[in-house]
Amino acid sequence: MAAGPYSEKVMDHFMNPRNVGEIDGADGVGEVGNPACGDMMRLYLKIEDGRVQDAKFRTFGCGAAIASSSMLTEMIKGKTVDEARAITNQQVAEALDGLPAVKIHCSVMAEQAVKSALDDYVKKHAG
């Protein structure tokens, strides 16, 4: 059936989001967005030996926001901290087979969530 305004991949990740939840004792937690702006994402990372071992998220938002969050967690799992930090919103959007122009900010939110969570990780492990 028609997936409406979104690609099939976006609808798949929206309907069956991967990695929804929390990580107890996460090594890094990032939160970006604001419900007032329509979306908010919280990302939890488990990091071991400089690699992202696990990633979970919770997102309030539209279809693109939820799909971007889900796709992002898939993309960063197994990556080194530096590789995860290098992921761009374009890569998230491309992995979803594109997003409508007005929804690009949802992929930006995903990119910012990783950076925010990794900043938190660095802060926690600095001392």
Binding site: A36, D39, F60
Partner: protein
């Protein structure tokens, strides 16, 4: 899959009887009403005149007071810009409610640019305009007052009768956008002292591309389109004959059947309204009593509107959202994402503004379809809340609090 269409406020399906009435004017009678020396043009002219009388009968007007347009947007533009220009150079002030349609609101942009002053009337938390606020807003130099009859997003019906009497006393031209109401509830210009009334065919089971502006005799309106002498000079251009025939046919159906439709819609609307009460932290919007039949609007805490609509659509249930996210998907950039001005106007807190949902029922909807929606909604709400960080925080806070 069952398909339950609950978005009649955006458009209604064409009634097959209307389609039947239009059919000959595509294939058999293709004449131009302005070229009526021969049979083809003569039949086209007769058809347009007949449609004009039919549309007039829907609102208790005279046929000569109906100007056909391409739809509500053009009618609203003509009403606002035409009436302001028609009011003359001394009148430099316009009054509108803050929940008017974009085709009224954005028509004010060139007026503001030209130095006109605009007063925007607030609405209360039920979406009602206060007639006393209208009284104090009108001035000697007010060219136009525009207040819609019913709001599409929250369903509230405005007190256009009392407001119109105030405008009349003040000698101010009064425009009523009846796009959402005409054909659903009585709109009678013998009771509502409006000078200009906007009508849209596809909102009452007629075709898209046909609308009308009622112009009370003696109202001064300057044209916005220039060309030939069609539509008494108010709207140049060859008439969309099949669509106007359809609008006339739809108007006649509405005159005859509106009461039955309204009864059916009120019953189903109440069923939906009552059933929604089972969902925790759901808030209805709009006036609880003074509202369009079969119109149910609400928002749900910790649930974003577009996500809810996408899940509903997967289950064959089609509703609408005033949410920024879903209504502007075809916009060009993020500047096109704005929270609903109507929800802001009724004081819905902005952090949940994105959750507004509108179910607008139509005459073909059934109780089974309403049940389908009521069965689907709680699970979808639960699923989206389980994903939401704000709901997680809420639950933690609740647990802490006791």
């Amino acid at each position: 899959m069952t398909k339950a269409f609950f978005d009649h406020i955006s458009t209604t399906p064409l009634d097959p009887r209307v389609f039947e009435a239009m059919h000959p004017y595509f294939l058999e009678w293709y004449g131009n009403p302005s070229s009526h020396i021969h049979d083809q043009g003569q039949e086209a002219l007769r058809a347009v005149d007949r449609a004009r009388a039919e549309v007039a009968s829907l609102i208790g007007a005279k046929a000569g007071e109906i100007v056909f347009t391409s739809g509500a947007t053009e009618s609203n533009n003509l009403a606002v810009l035409g009436a302001v220009e028609g009011a003359g150079a001394g009148k430099r002030h316009v009054v509108v409610s803050e929940i008017e349609h974009f085709s009224v609101m954005n028509a004010l942009i060139p007026l503001r640019n030209a130095g006109y002053e605009v007063t925007v009337l607030p609405v209360d938390r039920n979406g009602l305009v206060d007639p006393d606020a209208v009284r104090s807003a009108l001035r000697a130099d007010t060219a136009l007052l525009s207040v819609m009859h019913a709001n599409s997003e929250v369903g509230t019906i405005e007190p256009v009768g009392p407001i119109g009497r105030i405008a009349k006393e003040a000698g101010v031209t009064f425009h009523v956008d009846a796009t959402a109401s005409a054909g659903h509830i009585p709109v009678d210009v013998r009771e509502i002292p409006a000078d200009l009334v906007t009508l849209s065919a596809h909102n009452f089971y007629g075709p898209k591309g046909a609308g009308a502006l009622y112009l009370r005799e003696g109202t001064n309106v300057a044209p916005r389109t220039f060309g030939g002498f069609q539509e008494m000079g108010y709207r140049a251009g060859t008439e969309n004959v099949p669509a106007l025939v359809g609008m006339g046919a739809a108007a006649i159906l509405a005159v005859r059947e509106m009461g039955t439709w309204a009864e059916h819609l009120s019953r189903l609307g109440k069923m939906l309204w009552d059933g929604l009460a089972a969902i925790p932290m759901l808030h209805y919007t709009g006036h609880p009593a003074e509202r369009l039949p079969g119109h149910v609007s609400f928002w749900v805490e910790h649930v974003e509107g577009e996500s809810l609509l996408l899940f509903l659509n997967m289950k064959g249930i089609m509703a609408a959202s005033g949410s920024a996210c879903s209504s502007n998907l075809r916009g060009h950039d993020e500047e096109d994402l704005v929270a609903s001005p109507v929800l802001r106007a009724i004081g819905v807190p902005s952090d949940i503004c994105t959750g507004s949902i509108t179910f607008s029922l139509g005459k073909e909807n059934t109780a089974d379809e309403v049940r389908l929606a009521l069965d689907a909604l709680p699970g979808i709400v639960e699923r989206l809340r389980a994903m939401s960080p704000t709901y997680l925080d809420y639950q933690k806070q609740q647990a802490k609090g006791g």
